[in-house]
Symmetry: D2
Subunit: 414 residues, 4 copies
């Protein structure tokens, strides 16, 4: 008799194939689930493998559109970035995948949700917090945190032995000396040889961008149009894209071909450890730069400072820490959307051998930039004498500060 039905996030790799088989041997029936969030995959092969290993069924869902529309574009709208460097590619996809997995589990009357994440990483947290929020009554089986499982599979040799004993097909191509996670936004590389933070990633590591040195010898120019902070059109010499997924893929291709979007960092995991990660994020790097630039033209300065200090940083941390389905993310998102009312216009961009550059920008949506006002020559809308008073009032505090310093024997003009 079955111990119950498990909905397992299944990728077709050695780890999740082992978990699939192990769950079946432990007495569970298993529905496999694989989300298409834009990664490279031989979908038919994965399905074949799952069923061959004994899965009741293999459900594959294309989530690319909800991924782009609900989360990637939100990240662009708030210039999301973690620790000043990381564009959150993996974190952005997790809530979409987890929510779909819960939906599938509900649809097929599963009792459990399961995944193959390791016990020291961020992803287990992201998946399970999303599971709990989306359906608190579903239980989770996390084999890599179960003593009996960990003991049985202490290293890759144990996995390969189990595979051989259980007819789990193992890829003949050698395993990369690092682990990867791939979606529409980026590919991440970590662990293995990368655990030495002074080990430079080898050239062949990067899969989503060409090496800048191999990129074309001349700049490639194009234009991104935004409506309320969302990219709505990309125009290139070869044509244009307006569909959200197509448009994002076009930006990815532009970034890929010109080597844009590589970062290599040491970051702080939610779990309290530091880890080293390399990421190539072509399209989002370009879109974020264009969006930041357009905000310069159209967003009020005080709103921008508040947004930068609180919304951008907090939304990014919420996503990184797996808190997408949370009151605070919803609260912040309401602010993001409100802040983008006038962020409409177009940004002309150029990419060249690893770099992305803004060539110009324009907008009809905001009156905040005025050539007339900005001009040093024109005084029609501005009385420079006003500045005298402005400075005098601003100086009141500072004069007192300077006088106090003199009194304290530390004059500022020492």
């Amino acid at each position: 008799m079955s111990k119950g039905r498990v909905c397992l996030a299944y990728s077709g790799g050695l780890d999740t194939s082992t978990i699939l088989k192990w769950l079946i041997l432990e007495g569970y029936s298993v529905v496999c689930f694989l989300a298409n969030v834009g990664q490279e995959e031989d979908w038919a092969e994965v399905e074949k493998k799952a069923l061959a290993l004994g899965a009741e069924r293999m459900v594959i869902e294309d989530l690319q559109r909800e991924f782009v529309d609900e989360i990637v574009f939100r990240a662009i709208q708030c210039n999301a970035i973690y620790e000043d460097r990381y564009l959150l590619g993996t974190s952005l996809a997790r809530p979409i995948i987890a929510r779909a997995q819960v939906r599938v589990a509900q649809q097929f009357d599963c009792d459990y949700l399961s995944h193959g994440c390791t016990g020291k990483g961020n992803d287990q947290v992201r998946f399970e917090l999303a599971f709990k929020a989306c359906n608190p009554s579903m239980k989770v089986i996390a084999p890599w945190r179960m003593p009996e499982f960990i003991e049985k599979f202490q290293g890759r040799a144990d996995l390969l032995k189990f595979a051989a004993e259980n007819n789990i097909p193992v890829s003949s191509s050698p395993k990369a000396p690092w682990s990867m996670d791939d979606n529409l936004v980026h590919c991440s590389y970590e662990a293995g040889v990368l655990e030495d933070p002074d080990h430079t990633p080898p050239k062949e590591l990067w899969t989503r961008t060409v090496d800048p040195a191999d990129a074309p010898d001349k700049p490639y120019n194009f234009t991104i149009h935004f409506d309320k902070g969302i990219p709505v059109k990309v125009v290139t010499p070869e044509g244009e894209a307006t569909d959200s997924v197509e448009l994002f893929k076009l930006l990815n291709k532009i970034g890929h071909d010109n080597g844009v979007g590589r970062v290599d960092i040491v970051e702080n995991r939610f779990i309290g450890l530091k880890s080293r990660g390399c990421y190539d994020t072509p399209g989002l790097t370009i879109a974020r730069l264009a969006h930041v630039d357009l905000e310069g033209l159209v967003m009020d300065s005080k709103v921008r400072k508040l947004r930068d200090q609180f919304v951008t940083i907090e939304w990014s941390h919420a996503l990184y820490n797996g808190m997408y389905f949370s009151p605070e993310r919803e609260f912040l998102e309401n602010s993001i959307i409100f802040s983008q009312k006038n962020v409409s216009g177009e940004v002309r961009m150029s990419v060249y051998k690893g770099g992305a550059y803004v060539l110009g920008r324009k907008s009809d949506a905001s009156n905040l930039y005025s050539q007339e006002d900005a001009s040093m020559d024109s005084l029609d809308t501005f009385s420079p004498m006003d500045t005298t008073g402005f400075i005098a009032i601003q100086a009141i505090r500072l004069e007192k500060y300077g006088l106090q310093k003199i009194k304290d024997g530390e004059p500022l003009s020492k």
Copy 2:
């Protein structure tokens, strides 16, 4: 009889030469002051010109070392950046120049401080707030905000006419169609044709960086060593630099030769207007990137978030707005220095055709990164079962959130 003695910030250009002559004609005696903060200048020529026009004396001071040691390195320590893009090159130099001008004015018993800043820009504010803090009793003459001056000099033609009448030598080379400000950190370009934010800066505009397309065809690698967040050594294939000014100039040269550090933005002036500025900032761009990277390796995550949200953004705004000599800058700076206790180590860098990249980093100063801990394979210092409890506790709020959504008829797993 003299109306008093003025200490004038004098550059030798048409504007300040006009002001110098005008002040003399108005009955003031004038001590000219020029700060060497690393800009390109024919110092002897400026002196000759000032004295020829009637200045009592021309004081030129080399402030490069105090500029780098007191302010540029502080900016590096806090990853200073304004509106996510601008590295504050002009803002950083202003306090150093203003303080020295006050010192000179005090030394030569001046009654007034004067400058040639326009009435719509940030620099007038930065200079005068620093003047007021450093010596509240000195009065300021800001001709470009004085009705009688503005009326007399309504355009460049008026300046040239006055120059001709008063034997002010005018450079024969044509004026660039934008204005520039140059110091050790960067050169800025604004106004003129740049007032159209959609007008791409022409190739010949940039003076501190070669065009990425003209940069060498292969990456150039080097290493920056930091001690408590301050760059203390740069090692290149050709040798090394350890003196602060020399080291910074070396980074400038590396950046220059490889086209690193150009930005083109629309920014928010303190004065409430938006303006478009282009900046090339080679060395600081590289140093900031290396510093941000090293912090990833050695800084605690919570300290980093607090520092990013408050210290970095507020220090950058304080500098941009001319509030260097202020209680809040001093308060923030105390935090910056404290935060850098363990930010020591070295960062291997590469630059190539406009881009700067981190190749690796190491540090003995902090125990926060541990290859053993970070490794997904090692469980010696980490019990993955703990994560189960961690997730369960973190999920308490989120489960309630999910249940509330169900009750409200908006289930998260819709």
Copy 3:
């Protein structure tokens, strides 16, 4: 011939009567405007006086409802407070008054807006920033910042002399040795003898609250009901109020009778000076306390922290600094409203001799508080073993911190 028509904020007092007459003598025609924001006033007497002095007309508008509904309740929703003490009574009323004055000025084709605020205070800034936002094309006449006016009226004696010469009736009751500003929310007291911050306000100063020592000898209990953060019903032993203005007046009466809501502080004016102010704010003090308390029961902890750190403090500063009609206030207000979705319920309160106390609270709107969960005795919905893992993961950073301290020779357990 008239120099144009001025809409003057007219209170009937000596200052604004002088300005009214002076404007007429200077050649302007004047429409007087007085806002009823709940202050004590002999409205007919003011009208009579204005017309007698030559005003074209006297417009009095009852703005109490828009004051309460649009601003006072918003302040309650975000627990507005300035510098941890001041409930912003004056600041809250200014935008409502200024907007109405612009409306009246537009209605009667005025060319100018005028007010009697002094040149060193906050109110001039608040009024004029609101004027400029509401109608940038209207010009402002601020007599207390005009050299010719200031010179003419150097002290109270000059005002009285002018009054005598121009048939301006002067109140026979002696002027209080401080200035006051009164509205539905509070009465403020500043200047005069209060300029010595060590001078205790005399008992007779306070007008909106009885002395705690004179308040009844037993507590008075009542209940406030909130809907989405807004007080919608107050229930007392004598009856209840549900209309917004009536309800707020009832809270004022309760606070008044029991001596609740006095503060005496030194605050930082926007204008860079410190000033001493005393305020009695009976109803808002009570309503704010009840609201803060209810949020404890129903608001998510992370949302609350974010709201406290940025929305509450920034909204309060925006209001204090006269930035009500600003992009940032609108941005913040959107967050405030969103944050209040579940802030519904009732709070039982008690007031007694100067103090306000919460006796209990309940809500059906949120599932966040659960007696079952909170109970130390119940483990049905909570596995205490989870906390072990939670602590272990939280401790990772801290253990490294402790070990680093040992290595640095500063062990924490010294």
Copy 4:
């Protein structure tokens, strides 16, 4: 043979007596530790009981001075408060107690640290995070999170039965229907009947303050002197105190006698649950109010806003969440101390029937308040005309905002 030596936090109550006996029965030897942080206790009785139950020794340490000097005064310096209401009394004591317990455990070669905290509260987290930071190599025994212990002791009846079987003396006085935690700063009351947040605490609950209705019928006045934000002298009609512990006890007495410092709230535990707590905190309530007031007189406005937004809130959260021994607390504390350089002076206070009031304040340490400057009448150090320019510049953004609104069909002066 012993399983090892345990250092147990022992209070003499039923819970920790049970744990003591249970540990011994399980085969451990036990050193009992009790910290004197100012709570009410029969110290000799506790020692007698511990030894009678089989403890190897009973160590009692007076930590009152380090508690006051290292933590309570720091809380005063930064106006610490949690969720706008709670003065953190329990949280403040925990790090001091935990550090001392680690010291004692080290001194007596213990292998384990143990405590009697429940598995759902904050205190277990606070103790254990401090243990881990102070000595990561010591293991923790937390019986209330151990399945075998919880199963054995499912309710009070089981504890009483075990007590009877093991000669554990049980207090004959009936247990209060809530739990309490008492130290120099406050007494907390939670659980039991208080778990209903609408149940008003009965009059007899409060132990550290008299009922306001029972307090004296006239105000009691006194003065607190501060040096760099630390209370250094309290002067009353009866005499003065300057020793830190004595001074704090004097403030406690003043607050106690006059019913000052009661709060009753629902708060957010670190552990993700909401709980209801009542606290009476007489002395700290008074000291905090006086300190906030003095800062109004002497602290720069920008420093204050920065400090309020990040230092106060973050330090308070760090303490509440048990993160005292953490990099972020150390980082924040460095800012706190720096911010207090000029916070010296004296504050005259009054307490009356539950309320505390400021009567006046003065300071020689700062030049920021100036009666001359603040005076509305004096224009000697201030040109009101400057304000015109100040307003004009501040209005630039707001005028554009108003014009945009008109363009968008939503005029502000609707």
